[in-house]
Symmetry: C2
Subunit: 198 residues, 2 copies
């Protein structure tokens, strides 16, 4: 069993590097962040970064990969075990938006720093993003087929709903006007209205 201390234990080096990198990339961008920023924030020498990652770009890729897989899992879980498309879309938007507000730091990195990736790594990320898109389109398709949604273009509406959620990561601030739950609830209504289901 790992250390069970009363105060928060110091995470292992890999985790500390990941946390420091996410914070730095979100605040200053990939190119605005130095490897020294990351390693010293993680409490290590500059060279230690290269014990765990082959390059700064690979570190970004790892963060983006894990982050995207987490979101894909999130949206799949949101709609699982629900039959009604209205409830499916409501839950999906609520969970997606709440997550982008709560995790806006990480979400900023995985949505706005992708252009720093190599072509191969970018392609891998795009594949996961496509899978996320497929989940949303599936919900809309079923809603249209069931006659509870109406929209002139399912693809664009799916894109707009995801887009609305992603942009939460850009503007949301912890010390702001609303809690993640409040934003999530409001956006649920907006999304359902967008498909004519509210």
């Amino acid at each position: 069993m790992p250390c069970v201390s009363e105060s928060t234990p110091v995470p292992d080096a890999r985790t500390r590097l990941a946390t420091a990198a996410v914070d730095a990339f979100a605040a200053r961008g990939f190119h605005g962040t130095t490897t020294r920023d990351i390693s010293t924030t993680a409490g290590m020498s500059p060279a230690a970064l290269y014990v765990h990652h082959r390059s700064k770009e690979e570190l970004l890729f790892e963060l983006a990969r894990v982050g995207h897989l987490r979101v894909l899992e999130l949206v799949r879980t949101s709609v699982a075990g629900i039959a009604d498309p209205v409830e499916q879309l409501g839950r999906l938007v609520e969970d997606f938006v709440r997550d982008h507000a709560e995790e806006h730091t990480g979400a900023r990195v995985i949505n706005y720093e992708l252009s720093a990736l190599t072509d191969e790594h970018l392609a891998a990320i795009r594949a996961i993003r496509h899978d996320i898109d497929v989940v949303v389109r599936g919900v809309l398709d079923r809603g249209v087929a069931a006659g509870v949604f109406s929209t002139p273009d399912v693809r664009m509406t799916a894109l707009a709903i995801l887009s609305l959620g992603i942009d939460v990561a850009r503007w949301y601030r912890d010390e702001g006007r609303w809690t993640p739950d409040q934003v999530a609830a409001h956006y649920r209504l907006l999304a359902l209205r967008m498909v004519g289901a509210a």
Copy 2:
């Protein structure tokens, strides 16, 4: 009288620098762009940039300032001379979204590179963004007062509508599935539905 040639004349140095900077900042980000990238693309030596701008950051600020003022003017023009809030919101969203699709390169810079600005310059940009926000909130307020819009939170809905339009700049591609006009028309419907007016 300036040169009136048949083929497109070479723009003056300032304009060429601005164009090169927008393209480079949009593609690689502020910190990922070197002053040599910009000046050589503009057909000049590295030093020439400093004839026209005090620093790379001031060049970004100038681009952001002009770009934001253009958008503010755009939204004010959209709603001017219209009485009906429904038509006002429809026009505003259409114009705002079409512009963010057509000018997605410039829009990317002025929405996603602001963190590279100094505190003073960022504050100046935020002031313009506030003015844009006020225009949208005004339309929603009048629609709610007239009983043609319904929403639990005017502020958040105004933010969401702007957010939807801004994010177009992130995902829109020239060689993509839709023209700017098609996106604009669809988003007009989405926005009107969001306020319960369609």
